[in-house]
Each structure stands twice: as C-alpha cells, then as structure tokens.
C-alpha cells in the first residue's frame, strides 16, 4: 500500500510539470489514434470486401468499359453462380465539394450479390419498379437530410446533362464495416438515356461482379474468365474483390505511408518530452535515491520506483487520450463528411495507443533509472538539486 502511494505522491510533486507532461501525452495519443483511424478508413473498402466475389474490369484500366454481352459468357464459366455489373457515374450533387460515390447498378442481380446492404422488402420493390429510382446509404442520406421520396439531381461529368433520381430507399449496413455512404441507381436508366444520345457508348459496363460457388476457386475462376476474353477487343482483368479494393489503396500508398510515418513521429516527439520530464525529476532526487540506498534498498528498487512513476504518468495520459479519441475522431468525420467512409476507431487502434503509452513510459525511464540505480550513495547524498 505504501509503495503505490509513494509513486503517486512523487509523480505529482511537481504538479505543473506533471500536468504539462500528461497534457502532452494526451495530445500525442489522440493524434496517434486519429491518424491511425484515418489510415484505417482508407482500408474500409478492403475490410468490407467479400471473398466470395470477383471483380472483372477492362485490362487496360478502369476508365475503359466492357461490353454488356460479356455477362452471358461469364455466367457460363464453371464456378460462377451469379453476375452483376455496375458503372461509376461520377456526378456532382449541387457543388463539386459534395463528393460521394455513385454507381449505376444492374438492379436485383446486384442487390442479391451484396446482402450486406440491408433494405426493407418494400423499399427494394419500389426501387426496382422505378426506372429512375435510386437508393442511398444511411450515412449519405443523413448527411444531406434526404428522405425516401426526395428527388436528387446529379450533374454528370462522364455522362453529360443533369440526371434526376427518385430516392426509393435508404439502406443500412449489415456490419460496421459496410460502406453506407454510396448512392446506387438503375443501370437501365443510364443505358437507355445514353443509347439515345451517344449510341456508341451504350451497352457497356464499367465492372462486372461475379458470385463464386466456392471462395477456394477464386484463382481458377478468375483465370477462366480472363481466358474467355483473351485476344478480344476488350481484354479483362479479374481479381478478388479484396485485391480490387487494395488496388485503390495502393494508389495513395505514398500518402498513407506518410500519415503512418507521421503517426509514429508524434509518439517519438512525446517520448522526448516525457524522457525530459523523467530526466529532470530523477536529477532532482538523486539525494533521495541515495538515501533509499543508504537505508538498504537496492538499485533495482530505485529503478523500479522511477519506472513505476514514468509508466503511471504515461498511462494516465493514455487513458485520457483514448477517452478523447472517440469524440475527436467523430468530429473529424463530421468535418470531412462522406469522403472517408467507415470512420470508426478500431480496437487495434486503442490497443496500439495503449502500447505506445507503455513504450513511452519505459523508454523515458530508461536512462534516469539506469543512472539512479548505479548512483554511489556518497555522491548521491552530496548532490543538491
């Protein structure tokens, strides 16, 4: 009982210094947590992907489409149980900064492939029955205050003109990782309109999504699909949904890497601050440590005292910091809007924050503890402040 109290009293002997250090640790832990959460958000699409789905795109790049007739041939590939397709629409809602993903989807076949989009049977029916119908994720609908029945105008950037959709349903995610910040409408509506205006661009799909009978067959089936279309005008590239999503992440690799590096730099900075605090604290108390030794306590005991104090301060900071991470991350998510989907603080992040605090506490105490443990009683008693 006596020892923890001694450590606590010691820690708060210099109230101002300890408070400042704790504030520093809180700031660092919060920054670390938020930065990690930003990086996690990049991987949200990867997390949400299913191993039972393949994605096929044009081998040249995503900006080239594939003929719609490919769907028939894909259904014939052994191992494929269902095929759906989608087009990136890239429209502007009122102003350019209101960015959210919009896809023209192949109606029921697409919804069947994505059971994680939870839509009530009535909403599903009315969406499929309305050619100009659309559905939006809960997060997106909340952001713009949309209600079922609203008309949503989008200004096309790839497909010219202003397109107006009737919102027929708002879907929720079956899991926390499900992205509910996207907007889906009927492919047929896009295709029929394009057919009238630009006949050459009609009957093309951006990506095909195939349902696998068995996820184990992913590699064989993707090879079979690509072999079907080899040496055609539009060669395909088929990969698992996860690999497809990872492709997007790797495009921003440089930036993600930088954010990750910075999240560790903040820990190093606070390590320097904390180490400074502990170095000063220990320097002031050499006399006391010498006294402990004179009383018969060993060097290990003195070192343990310093470690306990350092860890204690770091953990108090970490606890406050972790508690603060959640509201700060929420505030950040609200500020950037739907740009980053799936913005939530993961358990790994919290554990990493805790781990970082422990490392800060230990490293900061290393040099002072080593010095204090080796101090000679006579010298220690001689030092003043």
């Amino acid at each position: 009982m006596f020892l923890p109290l001694l450590v606590l009293r010691n820690a708060f002997r210099h109230k101002l210094r300890t408070t400042l250090t704790i504030v520093g640790i809180v700031v660092a832990i919060v920054a670390f947590g938020v930065l990690r959460t930003i990086v996690d958000a990049w991987y949200a699409g990867v997390e949400a992907s299913s191993s039972a789905r393949l994605v096929t795109r044009n081998a040249v790049s995503l900006t080239f489409a594939l003929p719609l007739t490919y769907a028939q041939k894909m259904r014939q590939v052994p191992g494929v149980t269902a095929v759906a397709w989608a087009n990136w629409f890239g429209g502007v809602y009122i102003k350019e900064s209101n960015f959210f993903p919009q896809f023209a989807i192949s109606g029921a076949s697409y919804l069947d492939l994505y059971p994680e989009f939870v839509l009530s049977p009535e909403e599903r029916r009315s969406f499929l029955a309305d050619r100009a119908g659309a559905i939006a994720g809960r997060k997106l609908a909340d952001k713009y205050g949309w209600k079922v029945g609203d008309q949503i105008p989008l200004r096309g950037t790839i497909y010219p003109g202003t397109w107006t959709f009737n919102l027929r349903g708002i879907f929720d995610g079956a899991e926390a990782s499900t992205d509910t910040s996207a907007f889906y409408f009927q492919f047929d509506y896009l295709n029929e309109t394009i057919k009238r205006q630009f006949p050459r661009r009609a009957d093309y799909a951006g990506v095909f999504i195939e349902q696998l009978r068995d996820p184990e067959e992913a590699a064989a089936v993707s090879q079979a699909i690509d072999a079907t279309f080899r040496n055609s005008l539009a060669e395909t590239l088929t990969e698992t949904e996860k690999a497809f999503q990872l492709g997007f992440v790797s495009m921003s690799e440089a930036i993600i890497g930088a954010i990750q590096a910075v999240s560790f730099v903040v820990i190093v900075i606070i390590m320097a601050v904390m180490a400074n605090t502990m170095a000063m604290t220990a320097r002031e108390r050499y006399g006391e440590y010498a006294t402990f030794k004179a009383l018969g306590f060993g060097g290990g005991f003195v070192a343990a005292l310093i470690f306990a104090e350092s860890l204690g301060i770091a953990l108090i900071g970490a606890a406050l910091g972790i508690a603060l991470t959640f509201p700060v991350a929420q505030g950040f998510a609200n500020a950037v809007g739907a740009l980053l989907s799936g913005f939530h603080v993961s358990r790994e992040t919290v554990l990493l924050q805790l781990g970082a605090a422990v490392v800060i506490g230990i490293i900061a105490a290393l040099v002072p503890a080593w010095r204090a443990a080796r101090i000679r009683i006579v010298e220690g008693l001689r030092t003043i402040g």
Partner: protein, 388 residues
C-alpha cells in the same frame, strides 16, 4: 546593461540531455511542418510549370478532366477555325487535337499497378509545350506503334524505360524516347501519335483540344465565343488554371493535413519547451536572485530567459530544416483522385518555407518560454536569495 548572451547560451550547454531532448522534439515538429509544406510547394510548382499562360484547354462542358471529356470531329473542326489561334514561325496553326486515356501499368518498385496518362498529340501539340525536351532516344514517328515516356514514368514504371515495350490496346508499343518536361505534370505521361492512338483505342472523338492565343488578353473573348456557340458543348480554361483546378483537392488535402499535424505536434513541442524552461528557472532561483541583487532589472531577467527559450527553438528549427532540406533529393508519386492518374512531384524547399519554419520554431520557443520567464522575472530578490 543586458545580461550577456554567453550566460544564456552556456545555460543550454550546462544541461545537455535536457537541451538535446527539447530541441530534438522541436526539430521533429519543424521537420514534419517543413516537409509537408515542401510537398505542397512541389505540387504547386509542378502544376504552374505544366501550364502556359497563353494556352487554352477546351474540354466538354462539365467534364472536369480530359479523361472524362469528349469532343467529336465536327466540334473540333469548329474550334480549329477560331481566328484567335496563333501561328508558329513556320506557318503552322498552333492548335492540337488530343486524345487522353488512362492505362494501368505496374510500378517498378512495388509491382503494384497505377494509372498512367497516355496522350495522343500532334506536331502542334509538341510546339505548344516548349518546356518538353527529349533527353534520350528520339521522337516517335507518326503512324507507328512508337511512344515517348516522361521521365517520372520511365523511371517509375515497368516497361516504360527506353527501348522497352508497354502493351495496351492489344498491341506492343515501343518506348523510343524519354522526355523531360521540366518537372511539370507532363513528366508523368506517355505521348504517342494522336490519330494512331485514336485508332488503337477505337475512338471516334478526341478528348480535349489545346491552342495558343495570338494575344493572352483575348482569353475572355475567346472563352465567350466558344461557350456561347450553339454548335459546341465545350468549356475553355487557361491551361495553367486547368491544371491547378485538377489538383486542387490534392493540394488542399496536403495543406490541411500539414497544418493540422503541425498544430497538434507543436502543442507537444511547446509543452516540452515549457517543462524545460520551468525547470531551468527552478534550478536557478539563487542565480536569479544574485543577478537581481547585482542590479539587473526584472525586464532584463525576462529577456534573458526568453532568449534562452528562443535559442532552444532556433536550434530545433535549424536541425529540423536541415533534415527537411535533405528530403529535396526525393520525389513522391501518387494518384491524383480528381484525374485518377499518377502524378509525380518533388519536395521543394522555397525561401518562404525556410522563413516560415524558422518563425514557427521561434514561436514555439517563445510560447513555451514566456510563462517560465515571467515567473523568473517576478521572483523577489530576498526570496530568491534565501532559496539558494
């Protein structure tokens, strides 16, 4: 008489570990601050040098980027016949019909694919971009399956080096030359013969048009002519503006990220400085009393301690800047999500960044040092001397 500067400087040396830790923390903050600013500056420099002031880009109205845009031959012919298009010394009209597509190429280092711009250009298109020079090999021959690659692409992507081949549009294309576009956005592109690429990708229309004005001031009139013509569904932008708009999101993102991170980091560093300076004051109460007894005023004490904090900040700032300056050798290549294409830019240290970073370091020192210095100045001589 002010307290000698050597007293201030030597105090820092008296406690090396603390000084190193505090200045080191500040150095890291300044390093991060400076590198992010250097990235933003590098991106800006790349974009400014991509565009010429008297060049005009024409794209389909509302399409934002060249890849999304489309201009058919009929409309291209109308734009071609504009009277305001400049003529080169050899009598060529300086207008280029361009086709721009994105292809997926694997990076050399990681093998991961990224989107690269393939631009089909005309001889006029080359004349319109005087910053582009061939550095290796030769120009592609019109009508052949030959292309030339920008330096960043040749260095960074598999199959894009001189003499290698890239496969797209069911055909192998030989890289016959590498060009340097003076660190502009064109460094991240592959160029080929416009008509040839159009055929290969089975397109009937162009993506965009680029022309040079006879008089840069005529831009507004030309823009109005083009955008009010009922036969055209296009918009015109100055080339420089066009490229700046395209990377606005990336530039804004970098600036926000950099500012946000720097502010958070600086809180940590200021706290570090504050702790150090408080300790510095606390351990020297006796000295302060002596100095006061010798006749130095409260203000001089304040100045001396502030000077110490500023010196600490300056040391950190210089260390951080030195680290950041070393980053200039590196360049970064990432996807611009507005154009969905790869863009390479380098860390660029400008005089403004040097000044801002040092100022930032000094401010951190000042803020961290002010309260402790104020406490030192307020000490009463008697108390201070008794404490020693």
């Amino acid at each position: 008489m002010a307290i000698p500067f050597s007293y201030v400087a030597r105090n820092m040396l008296a406690r090396r570990l603390t000084t190193v830790l505090t200045a080191g923390g500040m150095a890291l903050v300044v390093y991060v601050f400076a590198t992010v600013m250097m990235l933003a500056a590098g991106l800006e420099k790349t974009l400014v040098s991509t565009g010429q002031d008297d060049n005009v880009v024409v794209i389909r109205r509302g399409s934002q980027t060249e890849v999304q845009s489309g201009i058919d031959r009929g409309q291209a012919g109308i734009v071609d016949s504009l009277p305001d298009i400049d003529v080169s010394p050899d009598g060529q009209r300086l207008v280029s019909r361009e086709s721009v597509v994105l292809i997926n190429l694997p990076k050399r280092k990681t093998g991961k694919p990224a989107n690269v711009v393939i631009r089909g250009v005309t001889p006029a298109g080359l004349a319109l971009r005087p910053q582009v020079h061939l550095v290796e090999g030769r120009m592609f021959r019109p009508g052949s399956a030959e292309v030339v690659a920008g330096r960043a692409i040749a260095d960074g992507f598999q199959g894009a080096g001189l003499g290698e081949t890239v496969r797209f549009a069911s055909r192998d294309w030989t890289i016959v030359g590498v060009f340097d576009a003076g660190r502009s956005g064109f460094d991240s592109e592959i160029w080929g013969d416009g008509e040839q690429l159009l055929q290969a990708f089975r397109r009937v229309g162009y993506s965009s048009m680029l022309f040079k004005l006879t008089d840069a001031d005529r831009f507004d009139a030309v823009k109005a002519t083009l955008e009010s013509d009922p036969r055209l569904t296009v918009e015109a932008k100055r080339e420089r503006r066009f490229y700046a708009d395209q990377s606005q999101a990336l530039a804004t993102f970098l600036t926000y990220l950099g500012t946000g991170i720097s502010i958070i980091f600086s809180i940590g560093a200021i706290i570090g400085a504050m702790i150090t300076m408080y300790a510095s004051v606390a351990s020297r109460v006796g000295e302060i009393g002596t100095l006061r007894a010798l006749g130095f005023s409260r203000f001089e004490i304040l100045v001396a301690f502030l000077a110490e904090a500023l010196l600490l900040g300056l040391t950190g700032g210089l260390l951080g800047l030195a680290g950041a300056a070393a980053m200039q050798a590196m360049s970064i290549s990432t996807t611009n999500f507005q154009t969905f294409a790869e863009i390479a830019f380098s860390f660029t240290l400008t005089p403004r960044i040097v000044v801002t970073s040092l100022l930032f370091a000094l401010i951190m020192g000042f803020v961290g040092g002010f309260l402790p210095a104020f406490r030192a100045a307020r000490l009463r001589i008697v108390d201070a001397l008794r404490a020693a």
